[in-house]
Amino acid sequence: MNTIARYAIQGVLYAAFAAFVGYFSSAPTYRHIEPDEALLRLSFSHAGERKQPCRTRTPEELAKLPPNMRAPLDCPRERADVTVELELDGKLIHRVVAPPTGLARDGASTVYRRVVVAAGRHQVRVRLSDNPQGVFNYTAERSVDLGAGRVLLIDFNAAAGGFVFRM
């Protein structure tokens, strides 16, 4: 093989290397969700109620405790599971029972669900229980018009009154 041909083939091989790198660096295109779809995300971090209510210690009980630990209230740390149900257009699509985090099960319960839905108007109903009895004490229902490629975030903030819908 003469020198020119060798250099030409070397050029072709390096070009093929560059083409391979260049192509797979950004192709083929990955379709994350279809163009006529939208995203519904349920995400919150919320601490449930304590499983047992706080109790006032008697003077005798307080006297038995070291002086620096004489808190008037005895509050068991364990919290209740947080249960959340998400209905879309009348159909239950998620029911999540989120236990409290932490070794003493006294932390917040965290929930994250991601649902791909068809773009358009949807009836969304969500309810949450954060008490030991399992009673759904927070409920929200919205009719939302989700454009293609948009995101509906359903958050929860007890201080703000419960569920927060953000688009």
Binding site: L13, S25, T29, R166
Partner: protein
Amino acid sequence: MDYGKWPATIFRKHNGVLRLIQRSGRWLFHRADALFNRAFGERLNPLYYLGATAYWLLWVVVATGIYLYIFFRTGVEEAYASVEYLTVEQWWLGGVMRSVHRYASDAMVLAMGLHLTRHFVFDSYRSFRWFSWVSGVILLWLTYASGINGYMLPWDRMAQFVVIATAEWFDALPVFQGTLIRNFIAEGAVNDRLWSLLSFIHIGLPLALLAVLWIHTQRVPHANTNPPRPIAASVIVALVVLALARPVTSQGGPADLSAAITTIDLDWFYLAAYALIYRWTPGEVWWLVGGATALFLLAPWLPPKRVRREGFHMLVHPDNRIIPVREGERLLDAALREEIPVPFDCRNGGCGECKGSLLYGRVDYGDYQDTALTGEERRNGKLLLCCATPLSDLEIEYEPEEMPGGAPVRIYTARVAAMKRLTHDVMQLILKVEGDEVPFFYAGQYLNVLLPDGQKRSFSFATAPHQRDHIELQVRWIPGGLFTTHVFTGMKEGDLVRFEGPLGSFFLREDSEKPIIFVAGATGFAPVKSMVEHAFHVGLKRRMYLYWGARSLRDLYAADLPRGWEREHENFRFVPVLSEPKPEDNWTGRTGLVHEAILADFADLSGHQIYACGSVGMVQAAHPAFMAHGMSEHDCFSDAFVLAPRIRTVTADMVRLGGRP
């Protein structure tokens, strides 16, 4: 059904499949190697430098990354804007740098993947190679973590996809359970401090990568961490052309957490698993990635297991050293590990640079290109040291290019100018080199006398390098020895002698200030004479002690010479030691073994350099004793010689025993 046979059946099937994969892979690599050899030649075939190319690409990534970091701003708004400035306003440099940064990172993954595959199909990951393999798996993780982290920085829609996918993937782990995604859940959740964290990670991970890369190559003797310059330059040119032809740009504008990602031009080198997260479940991808990682990490210990042997020994010419070779170890690696200067280039059986001769023993010749070692060459006893592995003790020979210090190895012809019997069994030979071309050598090195039938005999230069008019050899008669018997019975002044040299990496180290202890046994005095005379010539002021051990007085065949040195030089002391003095010797000096005399004089050897020249028995007895008295391994140089009947009884050559000289 005999359920007890299941594991054996499964392993047999596994072994069969594994061997089939490896055989197919080797076939593919050999075809590709041959094709590339035709285009690039054997010396510049990029497929022979995959690991080194990956290393080089990392430096490219680091260099371009430093430039990008100068302009990068850490903030929600600023991150995207600063990258856009580089890409659009400063496209001619910043844009090119960004593109090369990205493409070099991708090419690095490609080179690493091929490098790993090559070692897998050539079965170069088991046994003692586990360390490089396992550290390589860690490198893969670090590379991916660095690359994926880098995609988060420009804060475009691609960054949005990557941070959300990363959070959603990690949130599948029980420890997180949806907490990570809260950091990217909506506009306002992200603040400027995120980029400080991301930048910190994007600097820290590559630093860790470099550190592990350094560790990764430590166990590979003379690891090639740089590809040949033409390959390095060609890779750069290819990446720059690619950067100009297809510049990297931000995707879809700045990140918008209120909008979903619909389509994205994914970097499949780094983010293929991220597409799977949404085709499967995040948990399933964890099983895949974790399982693959565990499989890779355990691969060196999975069946088929090799029968463990203690390894072999290899006598290497022209160094005349016996070195250990591990089972499955390539002969080149074994030689380089012991600092034997075997020439090599591609290390993949393509260039033929490491071709040597198999003089004794059996080897597995390994896989190589036919152009590098022809069938006829193999029939004539040639082998490629980079491919062959031992099946027995071996004796090989290679063609040295140069010895330490760059002294070229050549063949010379000399005439015997004078002969003098120094004692009953030691002959002094004075050689005049034809053309007065006394080779340049280092004090302590040796030459090989070439015998008419092709055999070689090794003798140390007894003259110092500055003595340019002749060479002195001190030849001890070995009963039955071919050459030494000829010297004592047939050789006469005026005879011609052919020799090659200079050889050997045993020579006086002048870069130390430590006092020197020379230990000579019998004709081990010859290289010591060369070194001491050289030391006096260059005005070395270091304290020097010579302990010369012999059986009886007549074996100290040139004792007047060191006695004269002692008188003339304050920094020199001579201690003769006889192990079996005869009554007629009337010996009143030191007796016993020579190393024991040194130990009696020096309780602590940690501050000394020791040069031991003599029989293997002497060196082997002295070495552990010296070590026990604080001698540093780095300060002990030995030039032991011994008859080597175990390796090749016929030649009965003088060899130097193993270890670093």
